[in-house]
Amino acid sequence: MSKTRVVITGLGATTPLGGDVASSWEGLLAGRSGARRLTDDWVQNLAVQIAAPAAVDPTEVIERVKARRLDRTAQLAVVAAREAWADSGLEESGMDKERLGVAVASGIGGLHTTLSNYDALKTNPRRVSPLAIPMLMPNSSAAYVSLEFGAKGGVHTPVSACASGNEAIWLGLDQIRLGRADVVIAGGAEGAIMALPLAAFGMMQALSKRNDDPERASRPWDVDRDGFLLGEGAGVLILESYEHAKARGAKMYAEVAGAGISADGHDIAQPDPTGSGARRAMERALVEGDLTPADIFHINAHATSTPQGDIAESLAIRQALGKEADHAVATAPKSMIGHLLGGAGAVESIATVLAVHNRVSPPTINVDKLDDQIDLDVATEQRKLPDGDIAALNNSFGFGGHNAAIAFKSL
């Protein structure tokens, strides 16, 4: 049985590099860092005082009263979703909204709301917002995105830590291939630059402590990397069946060829050092996409800039692609935007789609000296991708041992 073809017909993002896709992509190509030293009062006694906040505050974009009712994570999701939806032209197409699904992920959910209402609770229980639960629940972003456009298909919230954004695309792809939807608004969001996550990830020794040099803190694959940089933002992709898109004459950026999910079954926080779980996710994405390693010319790596994780992924890529990894340009956008947690897979899928569409790999910054355990073709400058049929992988891995790889191919 032939698989339903699924294409990308709309993109939306708000990231540490810009409030939309164009500015974010331009920033990635230019090798710009979105990192900065935080100056808020609450950061002063923390060990880690750097992050990559969203370049455009979502409350400057969303109507004031609406913004009050959305957690920061959902605000970011709605901003990205509006751009993607407008980009797709689907509203004008008059599509059947019962055939429109949503899969918008978050790693943590509405943490701003949780913490601010807990503070309010301690002063006076009556100051707890009556909207606290709908704002803090993990499905809040997906629900508000469905409300925004009147989506009446399934509305889903994959939660798999930092693999969540890719898992949303995997889920959206399946919904269309199973015939449950013609279009799925898929993505992920996270707005978690707050004292608690900075302290908690810091206590795990997961974060870079380069407080004096924020723009150089996130340095995937560099020999002196010391942890990840916390970022925030959202990415949303419009997944649409090829037939539906073709019938309405939609523009198409790339095809979602396949998606692979696996679990390490190894540890709650550490990646499997052999990379076998990550390898299986990539292999499954290739098989499902009817691709071979020879088809892959670009790899958007998870590459968070942690000492162990970057090596395990490099091993996994080599195991999955073998010698063919020689002609796959490896790129690590987290060197510029930091780690968007539940938003990472979605924003980096957009970067992967645009790399395939525009035939160019963005650079990885801060690789002053490549770790000799990294056996990848790392591009430190923009790299042109070949003409003809090409495919690319986007990897996302999460605490809990979640691995999610998406294979995109050119149209």
Partner: protein, 82 residues
């Protein structure tokens, strides 16, 4: 003691902040739900904000009786005087 107009005006600012209703629309004869489209959860927020602003207690059981802006202003006046 605040005048009726002062209370209405301050209440209008609260309703504007929470529900986005233009301040000038929040007049004594207007119904919160039917005229101003303030939903039940926003009404809870308005009540709590009004309690803090006017330093009064508005019991949850009382909220259903505050159908119009005038009802709320009258309740706040009585509570302040009581």
């Amino acid at each position: 003691m605040a005048s009726t107009e002062e209370i209405r005006s301050n209440l209008a600012e609260i309703v504007n902040e929470i529900a986005g209703i233009p301040v000038e629309d929040v007049q004594l004869d207007k119904s919160f739900t039917d005229d101003l489209d303030v939903d039940s959860l926003s009404m809870v927020e308005v009540v709590v904000a009004a309690e803090e602003k006017f330093d009064v207690k508005i019991p949850d059981d009382e909220v259903k009786n505050l159908k119009t802006v005038g009802d709320a202003v009258a309740f706040i006046e009585r509570a302040q005087n009581g």
